[in-house]
């Protein structure tokens, strides 16, 4: 045992001796902090806003210039959520129980009325803001992924304020599963739409619209909304799968 510890120390010192100079070397050769635009960034900044009527170049890159990457990422996300559901349901059974069940012996702390009230004010505001972010993806910071994650966490506020039962009633998993699936299908449909018009996959051939308008950007807003739907549904489904894991089934409830 002691021998092993000495070996571990020797190994860590050896690693430190090798890696520490490497870290210092890399740090010394880093480009200056901020203020430096690489060639790709300069090119994109020069051409994308006028070509796509999009003021948020980040979204334009994600959903148009490198849209195929985003499509792949979207399906990585969907596959991860599916894997999670398969893994957890493998141990638990297929059905998510419709009735939320309370585990025996776990204390249910009383909810503060102040928290419940605050959340009833904040919930609509957060949902409205996330929809705003989704709609203005090509104009202001944010986009489908951000809006989807925001919407999922906004819905989670309901769990915090009004409890698991109301959360599950207001946000039924079936709806969220449909939302995730429709979002994923929508991403592919957005890619296939230009092919119907005789262009390449995900080629932005739709009319680009007016600058600084909600409809500007051609395919970008559509792709944005599809990704937003898929992300919202995916996150909520993952949370439902995890939360089901903390519950004990009633008699006769699978």
């Amino acid at each position: 045992m002691k021998y092993r510890r000495a070996l571990r120390y020797a190994l860590s010192i050896l690693a430190l001796l090798v890696l520490a100079p490497a870290v210092v070397l890399v740090a010394l050769h880093m480009p200056a902090f901020g203020g430096q635009l690489l060639a790709y960034g300069a090119t994109v900044n020069a051409h994308v806003p006028s070509m796509r009527q999009a003021t948020n170049v980040v979204t334009a890159i994600i959903f148009d210039v490198r849209g195929a990457d985003t499509l792949g990422e979207e399906f990585i996300f969907a596959a991860a959520i599916t894997g999670l559901a398969v893994l957890l349901r493998g141990g638990r059974g297929e059905d998510a129980s419709r009735e939320p069940i309370h585990a025996d012996g776990r204390q249910l702390p009383a909810r503060s009325e102040a928290v419940a009230l605050l959340i009833r004010w904040m919930l609509p505001a957060t949902i409205a803001f996330s929809l705003y972010v989704m709609a203005h993806g090509q104009l202001t910071p944010g986009g489908g992924f951000q809006a989807g994650a925001m919407l999922a966490s906004a819905l989670l506020l309901l769990f915090l304020g009004d409890g698991y039962r109301s959360w599950r009633q207001v946000v039924p998993p079936v709806v969220m599963q449909l939302l995730e699936a429709l979002g994923a299908v929508g991403c592919v449909a957005v890619g296939l739409l230009p092919m119907l018009l005789g262009a390449g996959f995900l080629e932005n051939v739709l009319p680009q619209g007016q600058p600084k308008s909600l409809t500007g950007g051609g395919l970008i807003p559509l792709f944005n909304v599809a990704v937003g739907m898929a992300i919202t549904g995916g996150f909520v489904n993952a949370l439902v799968e995890f939360l089901e894991e903390t519950r004990v089934p009633k008699e006769g409830d699978s």
Partner: protein, 84 residues
């Protein structure tokens, strides 16, 4: 601006170290959330508002909730501990 970035970096460093050094898992989850908040402030200052949005929604809300759920499930009372 430079000082704001430096201050944020220091806050990120401190909160990151606190995540690693916190022993009780439930508190650690809360520290992850605080760390995510400081990280998103840093991203905002470094002119990456898109990333700040993602970080604040995923890092301070969704990931901690998932960790808390996992803690609740592994602490007993979950289905796995019920004889079938």
């Amino acid at each position: 601006m430079k000082f704001a970035v430096a201050g944020c970096l220091i806050l990120v460093m401190i909160s990151g170290a606190l995540v690693a050094f916190t022993r009780r898992p439930a508190r650690q989850v809360l520290m992850i959330s605080v760390h995510g908040l400081f990280l998103s402030m840093l991203f905002l200052l470094l002119q990456a508002p898109d990333v700040a949005y993602s970080e604040i929604a995923v890092g301070t809300a969704l990931v901690p909730v998932m960790f808390l759920t996992v803690l609740a499930a592994t602490r007993g009372g979950g289905r796995r501990n019920v004889p079938r």
